[in-house]
């Protein structure tokens, strides 16, 4: 047998599985179609609708609970706490039309293609600025999470919009300011409970908390020590040496989100995080979706215990635009129809600033200074879905 044949035999491979080809074609269609829509709609993904919020009184989210967690971690663990406090009456039947605009896919599927694409985009981004001495990473966002208020033997749940600002120094010290908007009832049932209880004032105070060094754990110092090799990063996340937490794919997805939000992760680290996410079993792509302010991006999601956690990225910069938490099936702990939004975030600005806002100094331990003002009780019921987004009081 002559060398030509030998070489060719060495290069003989089975044809590609048609399913593999279909998958790639689907991913291309998603991205090609998205790009076309973006181009024709003239959307640039940068102009967020800034939501104006009203000031309120007292918060039911004490400073201790905030301070005990991490900036990102407390945010999502808080959702978990609220879920635990809600009575589970039963599975609610509801519309499914919002849940799966595109079919879910396992690792290596369309979601992986989207995330791997984001990884490429992320890698091409200019270097991230990190705060120098006396400087802070500043991130502002609008968001809403549920709050459950206990009334004697009963409780009701509202969705509370808020305006959040965070300043993080390189040593993990910093400040968080939050002001709250008009809450809306998660369901008619919640409104009924509130009315039966005599329409009590729903607390929502502005808060300002200062943190000493290390208080904001996902700060720049820790991120700089993370590996940017996706395999090594996946192993580190899996070992729970970054945040701790339970085992399982849901937690992997959560921790990827934690490392992306309110951080100055470098392009290489962001790229690695997308590649880690691409390999998490059960991650699905939602195709083109809009964040709560209407900015369009590509959505990837993970469903856990009946709740879909959605991350929305700008496909051209890979930046995290926003997030959604949506009830999609029984077991979420919320007694609401499927499709009900129980949390959302819109990221508005991320930059390096030279100073904290004027006001209180930087105590060694977390403190809260609440500004009190009168507020009207929530007066509207909202079955908050993506189709009927919550209206914030002016």
């Amino acid at each position: 047998m002559e060398i030509m044949e030998l070489l060719q035999q060495l290069g003989r491979v089975e044809p590609a599985d048609p399913e593999v080809l279909d998958r790639t074609a689907d991913a291309l269609l998603v991205l090609a179609g998205d790009e076309e829509r973006w181009a024709t709609a003239g959307l640039n993904g940068t102009s967020g609708r800034v939501v104006q919020l009203v000031q309120g009184t007292d918060t039911n989210r004490g400073p201790a609970s905030r301070a005990a967690g991490r900036t990102g971690v407390s945010r999502r663990r808080w959702v978990t706490r609220v879920m635990a406090a809600v009575l589970v009456v039963g599975a609610a039947a509801g519309t499914d039309m919002l849940l799966h605009p595109r079919s879910p896919a396992g690792p290596g599927g369309a979601a992986a293609a989207v995330l791997n694409h984001l990884a490429l985009v992320a890698y091409d981004q200019p270097a991230t600025s990190t705060p120098g001495p006396g400087q802070f990473l500043y991130v502002s966002s609008t968001e809403a999470y549920t709050a459950t208020i206990a009334i004697q033997t009963n409780s009701f749940t509202v969705l509370r919009p808020e305006n959040r600002q965070i300043w993080i120094a390189a040593n993990g010290s910093g400040r968080i300011k939050e002001s709250f908007g008009q809450p809306t009832f998660l369901s008619a049932h919640d409104r009924n409970v509130w009315e039966a209880a005599g329409r009590p004032t729903i607390p929502h105070a502005s808060t300002e908390m200062s943190f000493g060094p290390g208080g904001l754990a996902n700060g720049p110092t820790n991120l700089a020590n993370l590996p940017t090799n996706p395999t090594a990063l996946a192993a580190k996340i899996a070992s729970r040496k970054i945040e701790g937490g339970p085992s399982g794919s849901a937690e992997e997805f959560t921790q990827v989100g934690d490392l992306l939000r309110e951080t100055d992760a470098s392009p290489a680290l962001r790229s690695a995080l997308y590649r880690v996410a691409a390999k998490i079993p059960g991650v699905e792509t939602l195709g083109t979706v809009a964040d709560h302010s209407g900015r369009r991006g590509v959505g990837v999601a993970y469903v856990h215990n009946g709740l879909r956690h959605e991350l929305i990225f700008d496909p051209r910069t890979s930046a995290l635009l926003g997030e959604y938490y949506t009830v999609v099936s029984a077991g979420s702990g919320y007694n609401v129809p499927n499709g009900t939004v129980v949390g959302w975030v819109v990221y508005l600005q991320s930059s390096i600033v030279n100073a904290l806002p004027s006001g209180s100094g930087t105590p060694l331990s977390p403190v809260m200074s609440a500004t009190s003002a009168s507020s009207d009780p929530a007066n509207q019921a909202s079955n908050s879905t993506r189709a009927t987004s919550t209206t914030l009081a002016p």
């Binding site: 047998m1 291309l28 090609a32 293609a113």
Partner: protein, 189 residues
């Protein structure tokens, strides 16, 4: 009459996604084979999307002088492979370490032929990476030396000399006759 690859890419540039999808259906299997030959079928499945998404993203870089998009696509696939290997530190599929997971071992291959093929692996491994890449693009992907030059981003003359060196080395090792050389190294204008 079918459109050329260049026409398809021209279409996708101005926002016609269908044109790029057509390009994928035309060459998707070839790109998959390129990957599978070098890294195995499993990884090829995983990496195929990345190659094409990268191609889509960089389609404006396509040099319209070439009517066949394959050399350009292989060049992208090559970069994806290199990134993949740098992350996984996995051996090339034709080195001896990879024999155990060799995905293209045909069950019906004659034993003596199989033995000869296996002999080729270490010989290929003795070639420099530059020489091996040109050789395998020509033999496996059926590219001309000029097209291989496009894939590798090197001048045509360099590709030709590398191919020549690769074949000379193989001839020393295996004793290839000159007819093989003529077939691998076609006279081109």
């Amino acid at each position: 009459m079918d459109e050329t690859d260049e026409q398809l890419l021209g279409g996708s540039k101005v926002g016609d996604p269908a044109a790029f999808i057509e390009l994928f259906w035309r060459h998707g299997s070839a790109v998959h084979a390129y990957l599978a030959r070098r890294t195995g079928r499993q990884d090829a499945d995983d990496l195929l999307s990345e190659v094409w998404l990268r191609a889509f993203k960089s389609r404006t870089n396509y040099d319209c002088r070439y009517a066949d998009a394959r050399p350009w696509l292989y060049g992208i696939a090559r970069n994806v492979l290199r990134a993949h290997w740098s992350q996984t530190a996995r051996p090339l599929a034709f080195t001896e370490e990879a024999v155990a997971i060799d995905p293209w071992s045909d069950a019906d291959r004659r034993l003596d032929a199989a033995a000869q093929v296996e002999m080729l692996r270490p010989i290929l491994a003795t070639l420099s990476e530059d020489e091996r890449e040109v050789l395998l693009l020509v033999v496996w992907e059926q590219l001309t030396p000029a097209e291989a030059a496009v894939t590798l981003g090197i001048p045509q003359g360099t590709a030709r000399s590398r191919l020549h060196r690769a074949l000379s080395a193989l001839r020393c090792e295996v004793g290839a006759d000159s007819s093989v050389l003529n077939r691998l190294y076609p006279k081109e204008a």
